[in-house]
């Protein structure tokens, strides 16, 4: 495989993955030698530095990870801060309410109840520390979401079932019917 192609693939993988990955795993994925991976990564690091690009690659022993260029840190922080300070959208509040009354709840069920994809909203709620996720024993690929203990405390209650009309709302039949409908289809 051409070196330029190898570099392009490595960029794609590092970008999409986020977490760190080992040279060996990259080599296996692309089906090339580990030495080829190392040499391509070294070239990328130099390119990013010389081109003053927005990202860089950091090495940690046998692992590498793509990160933002620290020179741009203030702008990245500003974006994050803005995101946190922004008043929460109606969409975010709806997902929060569903997690509150239905938690532990899967993303699929949240989406069935609202009828809209909710993946980005869930990430934003996680980032704001309002919800937490745990692995779903019934579905290896998915997670279950719950309200975080900080937010429960913030609302001035001790446990989630102290929310108004918890018994009635959390077992509403309409929710069951729409979730089942989507399972059937």
């Amino acid at each position: 495989m051409e070196k330029e192609k190898i570099k392009s693939i490595i960029e794609s993988i590092l970008f999409a993955r986020g977490e760190e990955i080992s040279f060996l795993q990259l080599a296996k994925t692309i089906e090339i030698k580990k030495s080829e991976v190392i040499s391509a990564v070294d070239e990328l690091i130099v390119q990013y530095q010389e081109g003053k690009k927005g990202f860089g690659i950091i090495k940690n022993g046998e692992n590498i990870q793509m990160v933002t260029n620290p020179d741009n840190a203030q702008f990245v922080e500003r974006t994050i801060k803005k995101n946190l300070q922004e008043t929460m959208s109606r969409t975010a509040l709806e997902v929060l309410a569903i997690v509150a009354y239905r938690g532990p709840v899967s993303r699929a069920d949240i989406e069935a109840i609202r009828g809209v994809n909710s993946s980005f909203t869930l990430r934003n709620l996680l980032m704001r520390g309002l919800i937490i996720k745990s692995t779903n024993e019934n579905d290896q690929r998915g997670y279950l979401y719950n309200i975080s203990s900080e937010f429960i405390k913030k609302m001035g209650i001790g446990k989630i079932d102290e929310l108004p009309d918890y018994e009635g709302l959390s077992k509403d039949k309409r929710v069951e019917s729409i979730i089942n409908l989507n399972v059937e289809k």
Binding site: I80, L84, A97, M127, G129
Partner: protein, 255 residues
């Protein structure tokens, strides 16, 4: 009542033209909508979308509706609205002197355009399917993966507010099964109409078509009634007659 007269003219033509071998030449399968069915019929005959081709396949379309065992299809109303337009088109094709109102002309024109439009999207949907299923696709990153969560609760949102929001969501959950039931109830099905007519004829020897369709009838119901009469004529349950061209249609029970 001009519309009814036109239906009647169509009825006569239809009876003259229909023979057994044209009855079952459309494979009964699930078409999602009337346009789907029309396109299939036109494609099968390798015709362009024109008034003439629509007039030619009108019978096949009506056959399909009549022979459909499960007439309580969700979108019966949609199928019947198109049936009404087809009958109009065929009447006009067979009787060139038939004077259509501007509104009716427009309806015919609209159906043609709608079909053309629908055909384009059906074709491009196939292209999209190919591209969608090929190996090329992009991936994005999850948002802010590398950032540690920071507790940032929304202002003024407590239990009471969450309960309110959640209640609101519950209110907006659509109930699909119920919706479909309602649609079915609104339209009298063909079979119901036939039973209904038989029942009426058991008390009365003769019924005027106008009587049948007068109370709160919309076009869909008129068409259902028409199809029902058509079916009964075919089964030799009734005979139909009309004194003069703009007179009401009478039908009588065959004893």
């Amino acid at each position: 009542m001009l519309f009814v007269v036109k239906i009647y003219l169509e009825l006569l033509c239809f009876l003259k033209n229909s023979t057994i071998d044209t009855m079952y030449n459309v494979k009964i399968e699930q078409f999602e909508g009337p346009l789907d069915l029309l396109l299939e019929l036109i494609n099968k005959e390798k015709m362009d979308i024109t008034n003439i081709s629509l007039a030619q396949i009108a019978d096949q379309y009506l056959d399909y509706l009549e022979n459909k065992e499960d007439i309580n299809i969700v979108n019966l109303a949609d199928f019947l609205t198109v049936a009404a337009k087809l009958i109009l088109i065929k009447s006009k094709a067979l009787l060139p002197l038939l004077d259509l109102s501007n509104e009716e002309e427009e309806e015919i024109f609209d159906l043609e355009k709608q079909l053309e439009e629908y055909r384009k999207f059906k074709l491009v949907a196939q292209e999209i399917e190919k591209i969608y299923n090929n190996d090329r696709q992009s991936f994005s990153r999850d948002n802010f993966i590398e950032i540690e969560p920071q507790f940032a609760p929304p202002e003024g949102i407590g239990g009471k507010e969450l309960a309110e929001i959640y209640n609101n969501i519950l209110g907006q959950i659509p109930v699909f099964e119920k919706l479909e039931e309602e649609r079915i109830i609104k339209v009298i099905s063909l079979r119901e109409r036939i039973d209904n007519l038989k029942e009426m004829l058991s008390h009365k020897a003769e019924i005027n078509f106008s009587e049948l369709v007068k109370k709160g009838s919309n076009r869909v119901e008129i068409i259902v009634s028409f199809l029902a009469v058509l079916e009964m004529v075919k089964r030799r349950i009734v005979v139909v007659e009309q004194g003069e061209i703009f007179h009401d249609i009478k039908f009588k029970k065959i004893i």
